[in-house]
C-alpha cells in the first residue's frame, strides 16, 4: 500500500511540474509573439524626454552617429548614454566634444549630463575561436550588466559589432517586461549594395523597430527597411 501511495504521489508531482513547465513555456511564447508583433509599431504621442543609448564604433560609425544626433532635438533624447568598445578611445572623446558643444549652446545649463561607458568586445580580430567563446560570454555578461543599469527607452546604433549584444539583451528585456526599448538602426552610408552583418542580423531577426538605409538599392533588396537618402 505504501509503495502504491508513493508511486501515486510521484506521478502527481511530475504531472504538476509538467503542467507548470508547459504553462510557463506557453506564456513565454505568447509574450515573445506579442513583442514581435508590437516591434516596429509607433508609440503613443508624448512630450516626456526619453533615455537614449547611443552605440559608437570605430571608423566612420561615430562620425555618422554624431551627424545624426546633431539634427535630433536633444531635449527629447535625454539622459544620453554613450557606449563604445573598450579598445576604442577616440569615439568617446568625439562624443564628449559633441556633448560639450551642446552644453555651450545651452549657455551652460543642462539638466542631465551625458554618461560615457566602455564595453568589452566579444572577439578581437584574429582571435582564436576557442578563446572567443569565453570572451563572448564575458562580453555578454558585461553588456547585460550595463543594460540593467541603463535600461534605455531608445537605442540608436549604426553598425559596429558592439551593438548586437546590446540589441539582443534589449530584446530579452522586452520579452521579460524589464524595459521596452525602441531600437533604431541606421545602416552606414558605406553600405550601398549589401547590409552589414549587424544590419542583416537585426533585419532578419526583426529586432530593430526601424531599420534605415541610405542607398536605394538596399531598399529594394530589403523591403522592410526605410530608405532615407544620404545623411552625410
Amino acid at each position: 500500500m505504501e509503495i502504491g501511495n508513493s508511486c501515486c504521489f510521484f506521478n502527481l508531482k511530475s504531472n504538476v511540474s509538467t503542467l507548470l513547465i508547459t504553462i510557463t513555456v506557453t506564456l513565454v511564447v505568447i509574450r515573445f509573439l506579442y513583442v514581435i508583433y508590437w516591434c516596429g509599431k509607433p508609440l503613443r504621442k508624448s512630450l516626456q524626454p526619453i533615455s537614449t543609448l547611443i552605440v559608437l564604433g570605430s571608423g566612420g560609425h561615430t562620425a555618422e552617429m554624431l551627424n545624426l544626433l546633431s539634427v535630433l532635438q536633444t531635449d527629447h533624447f535625454t539622459p544620453r548614454f554613450y557606449i563604445a568598445a573598450a579598445t576604442d578611445n577616440m569615439s568617446l572623446q568625439k562624443a564628449r566634444v559633441f556633448e560639450n558643444s551642446l552644453i555651450n549652446e545651452a549657455g551652460g545649463e543642462v539638466i542631465e549630463l551625458a554618461q560615457f561607458m566602455q564595453i568589452y568586445r566579444s572577439r578581437e580580430v584574429g582571435q582564436s575561436y576557442i578563446t572567443s567563446v569565453v570572451t563572448t560570454l564575458v562580453a555578454m555578461a558585461h553588456a547585460s550588466w550595463l543594460m540593467m543599469k541603463i535600461r534605455p527607452q531608445v537605442i540608436l546604433c549604426n553598425g559596429p559589432g558592439t551593438c548586437i549584444p546590446l540589441c539582443v539583451i534589449a530584446f530579452f528585456f522586452k520579452v521579460l517586461g524589464i524595459r521596452w526599448s525602441s531600437i533604431f538602426y541606421v545602416e552606414s552610408i558605406a553600405r550601398v549594395r549589401r547590409l552589414s552583418l549587424s544590419g542583416l542580423l537585426l533585419y532578419k531577426l526583426r529586432m530593430a523597430d526601424q531599420l534605415f538605409v541610405q542607398w536605394p538599392r538596399l531598399q529594394s533588396k530589403y523591403p522592410r527597411a526605410h530608405y532615407v537618402g544620404r545623411l552625410m
Binding site: L72, S182, I189, V228
Partner: protein
C-alpha cells in the same frame, strides 16, 4: 630664383591620405617616378603624403630641380587644413575621408585597398564614381587614372541631410514635429 618665385605663386598640392590605416601599397604607388611625373605634368607642384600607420617611408624632395616637392607625415589631429589647401586629394576608401573631401568640393581620387579582408569600402567608392563625384582607382592603375582624369567632368556632391531620419524617429516615438 625666378623659378622658385613663380612656383611659390602657384602652389598646387596633391594631398595623399590613408587616415588611421596602414596602406603601404598606395604610398609606394605615389612614390614612383611615373606617378610623380604625371602629377607634375598635370600642373601639381607639391605632393604631401599622410602615411598613417604604414611602414613604407616615401622619399622627401625639395623639388629644386624642377620636379615635385615631396613631403610626408604620419598623423595629424585633423587633416581638414591639409584638405582645404589641396588642389587634388588622393585618399583611401574610408567614408570619413571621402565625405570630408567631397564636402570641401575638392577633386578626389579614391584608391581602394585590395589587401583588406572585408572590402565593403569599394561599394561606396564605385557608387560615387558612377555618379561622377570622384575618380576610383587601384594602386596599380593610379598612374593611368591621373593621366586620364578630367576634373571638369566631376559633379559636385550634394550635401547629405539627416532630417528625414530625425522626422521618422520623432514620429515613431510620438514626439511633435519641430
Amino acid at each position: 630664383m625666378g623659378d622658385t618665385d613663380e612656383r611659390r605663386k602657384c602652389n598646387r598640392t596633391a594631398f595623399v591620405t590613408v587616415g588611421t590605416t596602414s596602406f603601404d601599397t598606395l604610398v609606394r604607388a605615389v612614390d614612383t617616378r611615373e606617378v610623380k611625373e604625371v602629377l607634375s605634368k598635370k600642373g601639381y607642384t607639391h605632393l604631401l603624403i599622410q602615411m598613417g600607420r604604414g611602414s613604407y617611408i616615401p622619399q622627401k624632395s625639395t623639388g629644386e630641380d624642377g620636379s615635385l616637392t615631396v613631403d610626408y607625415f604620419t598623423f595629424s589631429s585633423s587633416i581638414a587644413d591639409n584638405l582645404r589647401s589641396a588642389s587634388l586629394v588622393i585618399s583611401h576608401a574610408g567614408s570619413g575621408s571621402i565625405f570630408e573631401t567631397l564636402r570641401l568640393g575638392k577633386p578626389l581620387i579614391v584608391v581602394v585597398n585590395e589587401d583588406l579582408m572585408d572590402n565593403h569600402q569599394s561599394e561606396l567608392a564605385e557608387e560615387l564614381a558612377d555618379r561622377k563625384h570622384l575618380f576610383c582607382a587601384r594602386p596599380q592603375t593610379l598612374y593611368q587614372v591621373i593621366a586620364a582624369m578630367s576634373l571638369e567632368s566631376l559633379i559636385p556632391y550634394p550635401p547629405g541631410d539627416a532630417s528625414p531620419v530625425a522626422k521618422l524617429i520623432n514620429r515613431f516615438l510620438g514626439f511633435p514635429d519641430d
